[in-house]
Amino acid sequence: MKREIPLFITFITGVLLVIALFVPHKPFGQLQQTFNDWLIIVGGFTMILGLDSLLLHNWEKIKRKKEGWISSAFLIASFFITLFWGFGEGAIAHRSPFDPSATFLRYFYTYVFVPLQATMFSLLAFFIASAAYRAFRAKDGNSTLLLSAAALVMLGRVPAGQEVAPWIFAFVLLLLAYYFFKEGSKTTGTQKTLYLIGALVSILLIYPVFYILLHYLNGIADWIMNIPQMAAKRGIWIGISLGGIAMSLRIILGVEKTYLQ
C-alpha cells in the first residue's frame, strides 16, 4: 500500500490536470485553481522539509566531528540567529521579514549576506579566465570553429570590440603565415608547396578579414547569436520538452517509480 497509494494519487492528479487544461469548464476548470492553491501550500511545507534535512545533516557533522564541522557550526548558528532575530525584528516589529528597514536584517543582509554571495560568484571571472587560457586549444577543426565563434562573440558584444578584433585576428593570420612558412622550409616537394600556399593565403586574408571585422563584427556576432546559436538551442529545447512529456507520462502512468524511493 505504501507504493500503491502515492501512485494512485499521482495518476488521478495527473489525469485531472491534463483534462483541466483542455476542458476549462466546471468542474475541471475549478479543479485547476484548487490544485494551484494546494501546490502553493505544499510548496511552503517543502521548505520545512528542506530546513529539517539541512539542519540534521549539519548537526550530524558537528556531532561526529567530521571534516568541515566548524563550517556546519557556523551554518547552524547563523541560521538560528537570522531566524529568531528575523522573526523578532522583521516579522513582528516591521511586519515583514523582507523589510530592509529592519535594522538587523538590513545590516546582516546588506553587509554580510550580499557581499559573501557576490564574492563567491565574482571568483568565477578568475576561474573562467584561467580555464579559457588552459582549455581553449585549436586542436582540430571543431575546436578551432568553437574558438573563433567564441572570440567573435566575446569581442562583438563589447564596446570597442570592433576596433580591437581586426588587429587580433590579423595578428593570428600573421602567426599562421609564419607557422606555415617555417614548416614549409623544413620540407620538400609538394608538401613544401602546400605550406607556402598556406602561408600566402594567410597573408592575403589579412586585409579582407581586417576590413570585414572592422566594419561588420557586431553584425557577425549578432548573426552567430541569432542563427547558429538559436538553431542549436531550439533543437536542445525541443529534445528536452519531448523528454519532459515522455517522463511526465511515465510518472502519471506509474511506469516511472524512482521518485518514490
Binding site: Q32, Q33, F35, N36, D37, L39, I40, G43, G44, H94, R95, S96, F98, D99, P100, Y109, T110, F113, V114, P115, L116, Q117, A118, M120, F121, S122, A125, F126, I128, A129, S130, A132, Y133, R134, F136, R137, A138, L147, A151, M154, L155, R157, V158, P159, A160, G161, V164, I168, F171, V172, L175, Y179, N218, D222, M225, N226, Q229, M230, K233, R234
Partner: protein
C-alpha cells in the same frame, strides 16, 4: 625563443588572476569608458516601455540574488528610472526570496529619487512559494495569491491596486532572470494569458532566451551587463553598468589574448614533441 613560447603556454594561474584583477580594478579606478551602440533587442525593450501611456502598470519580477546583482541590479534601476520618468505604475514581486530585498531596496531608492509614493505609484508584493501556481493564479486574480502587500496591507486599500486584478491590467511584465524562472513566465504568463513580457537576464542565460524573442513570446530582451549598460545609455543615466562594461571589454580582450598565448604555447610544445 622556443622556451619562451613554451612558457607562454604555461602561465601560472595566479599570474592570470592578478592580470584579471588589475584589469578590472584599474579600468574602474581610472573611469575608462567606451561608447557603444545599444543592441536592437535592448532598444526595442526601451521603446516598448517608452510607448506606454502614463498610468500603465509594469510588473517587475525579481528572480535573481546577490550573485547576479552586478548585471541585474543596474538593469532594474535603469528600468525603474524609465518607468517613474514616464509616470508608469510599478508592481514588484519575485520568485527568489533571497534576492527579493535587493529589488525592494532598488525600488525604494529609485522611487525616493522621483518622489513617488508607496501604494499610489508603486507596490511591493513580496514572495509566495509555488512558482508556476503563483504565475497561473496571477492570471486569474492577483488577490488569490497576494491578498496583502509585504507589510500586510490589503491590496484593495492601496489606491494603485484598486483596478489591477490580473494580467489584463498589466501592460508589461519585466522578468529579471538569473535562472529558469524566465522560461516559466513565458510558459505560463505568455502562453496561457498572452501577457507581454520583457526579460532581463544574466549573460550566461541570455542565449537560452533568444528563441523566445524570435518567436515573439517575449517582446524584448536585455542581456547581461551589456544590456544593462545599453539601457542606462538609453535613459541618459550612465551608472554602474556602463562603468562595469569598460572592465568587461578589457577583460574580454585580455581573455582572447590569453587564449591566443595559450595556443601559441600549445603549438610550440606540440612541434617540440
Amino acid at each position: 625563443m622556443r622556451d619562451f613560447l613554451r612558457k607562454a603556454g604555461n602561465i601560472d594561474r595566479r599570474v592570470i588572476y592578478l592580470i584579471i584583477f588589475l584589469a578590472v580594478a584599474l579600468t574602474i579606478l581610472f573611469k575608462i569608458r567606451f561608447k557603444s551602440t545599444p543592441l536592437p533587442e535592448v532598444k526595442r525593450s526601451y521603446e516598448i516601455i517608452n510607448s506606454l501611456p502614463a498610468g500603465s502598470v509594469v510588473m517587475f519580477s525579481i528572480d535573481y540574488d546577490a550573485s547576479s546583482m552586478p548585471e541585474l541590479d543596474p538593469m532594474l534601476r535603469a528600468m525603474l528610472r524609465h518607468c517613474f520618468e514616464k509616470n508608469l505604475k510599478v508592481i514588484m514581486l519575485g520568485h527568489w526570496p533571497l534576492g527579493l530585498p535587493l529589488g525592494q531596496i532598488a525600488l525604494e531608492d529609485v522611487a525616493r529619487q522621483y518622489h513617488k509614493k508607496y501604494g499610489v505609484d508603486y507596490v511591493f508584493l513580496g514572495y509566495r512559494p509555488g512558482l508556476q501556481a503563483v504565475m497561473l493564479n496571477l492570471g486569474k486574480e492577483i488577490r488569490s495569491v497576494f491578498s496583502t502587500d509585504y507589510r500586510g496591507t490589503p491590496l484593495d486599500s492601496l489606491p494603485m491596486m484598486r483596478g489591477v486584478h490580473n494580467y489584463n491590467d498589466i501592460a508589461i511584465l519585466v522578468g529579471l532572470e538569473a535562472g529558469s524562472v524566465g522560461d516559466m513566465w513565458v510558459q505560463f504568463a505568455n502562453a496561457r494569458f498572452n501577457q507581454k513580457i520583457i526579460l532581463g537576464s544574466t549573460a550566461v542565460i541570455t542565449p537560452d532566451l533568444y528563441p523566445y524573442l524570435q518567436a515573439g513570446q517575449i517582446v524584448g530582451l536585455i542581456g547581461g551587463l551589456r544590456g544593462a549598460s545599453d539601457y542606462e545609455e538609453l535613459v541618459n543615466h550612465p551608472a554602474i553598468a556602463s562603468a562595469g562594461m569598460a572592465s568587461q571589454t578589457v577583460v574580454h580582450v585580455l581573455i582572447i589574448l590569453l587564449i591566443l598565448l595559450g595556443n601559441i604555447g600549445y603549438f610550440a610544445t606540440r612541434r617540440g614533441k
